[in-house]
């Protein structure tokens, strides 16, 4: 399952952090953030719940009130 893969990846990063002894090492899972960003661009409802400004619709498909 894709989610398991992601969890596995997180585990790997946790282990790496432990190994390096660098608890505060700043790390961002860029690929996951990119996927979330794309999801929010696709669906205005998701963007809204993520706190994005909904002043402009991401595309012309959404009805305008």
């Amino acid at each position: 399952m894709a989610q398991d893969d992601r969890r596995q990846r997180s585990d790997d990063i946790a282990r790496l952090k432990q190994r390096l002894g660098e608890e505060d090492m700043p790390y961002q899972d860029i690929s996951r953030e990119g996927e979330l960003l794309a999801a929010c661009r696709r669906w205005p409802l998701l963007a809204e719940t993520e706190g994005w400004s909904t002043g402009s619709q991401p595309d012309d498909k959404a009805p305008r009130v």
């Binding site: 399952m1 992601r6 996927e35 979330l36 794309a38 999801a39 669906w43 409802l45 998701l46």
Partner: protein, 243 residues
């Protein structure tokens, strides 16, 4: 003994079929299981091959003789039991709701009576409105609460506006072909700390199981949904071992 209360985040997400499937799966793992229907619509029994017009259940038994609720307990197979709700007329249902409001701890006591006989008691509960709902009994603590939801926009909106507190979230009817469902699962995986790491995939076998009057694990032992539910049962057992 572990009490697991399953209810939909909204109606129509397949909670009853999941209760039957999970009960069957836990029984397959050598657990003593009771499936208890707390939904007045009384559908869980149909997964256990009871007749459509069979009126018996805990609510009807209690109506016939106060305290007689446990008379309705049925053994499906050895070690797997069912307590149907029963069929009540509208007037009797209103009376039952009023009584449950007055005696809100009734089921806590009943579950304590039952606990010696079972490893698991699975409750099929109605989808709740925020702030509770008349007629839904109070449950003892600790109880493992699972909210069943589909990866769709309505459930996402409800999660955002009402939340689900500390309840576990179980995604049912997941279809990986759907972009929207994949996106929602991704987002929930990030934002919902209590999302169960096992989804139940959309599977025609789950719908057919009710028409065949059995749990999905009995109707289609090799189906995807059966495998998913078996993994869910194993996950629950592991949670119990940890807790």
């Amino acid at each position: 003994m572990t009490v697991v209360a399953l209810s939909g985040l909204r109606g129509g997400v397949g909670t009853t079929s999941l209760v039957a499937a999970l009960g069957f799966a836990l029984h397959g793992l050598q657990q003593r299981v009771l499936m208890l229907d707390l939904q007045p619509r009384n559908l869980l029994r149909l997964h256990c091959n009871l007749a459509l017009d069979a009126p018996q259940g805990w609510a009807t038994a209690d109506q016939d003789a106060e305290g007689g609720w446990s008379e309705a307990l049925l053994e499906v197979v050895e070690g797997l039991y069912l307590l149907p709700f029963g069929r009540l007329e509208a007037g009797a249902l209103i009376a039952l709701e009023q009584r449950q409001q007055a005696r809100s701890h009734e089921w806590t006591q009943r579950l304590q009576q039952l606990q010696a006989h079972f490893d698991w008691i699975l409750l099929d509960m109605p989808a709740r409105l925020p702030g509770g709902q008349a007629g839904v009994p109070l449950l003892p603590e600790p109880v493992t609460r699972i909210r069943v939801l589909e990866a769709d926009a309505a459930c996402h909106a409800l999660l955002s506006t009402e939340g689900a507190g500390e309840d576990y979230l179980l995604v049912n009817r997941f279809d990986p072909i759907s972009q929207l469902q994949r996106d929602l699962l991704l987002l929930w995986g990030e934002r919902q700390a209590h999302l169960i790491p096992q989804v139940i995939h959309r599977d025609e076998a789950m719908a057919c199981a009710l028409a065949w009057k059995s749990p999905v694990g009995y109707y289609a032992p090799d189906s995807l949904a059966t495998h998913d539910v078996r993994s869910l049962a194993t996950w629950l057992l592991a949670q119990g071992a940890q807790g």
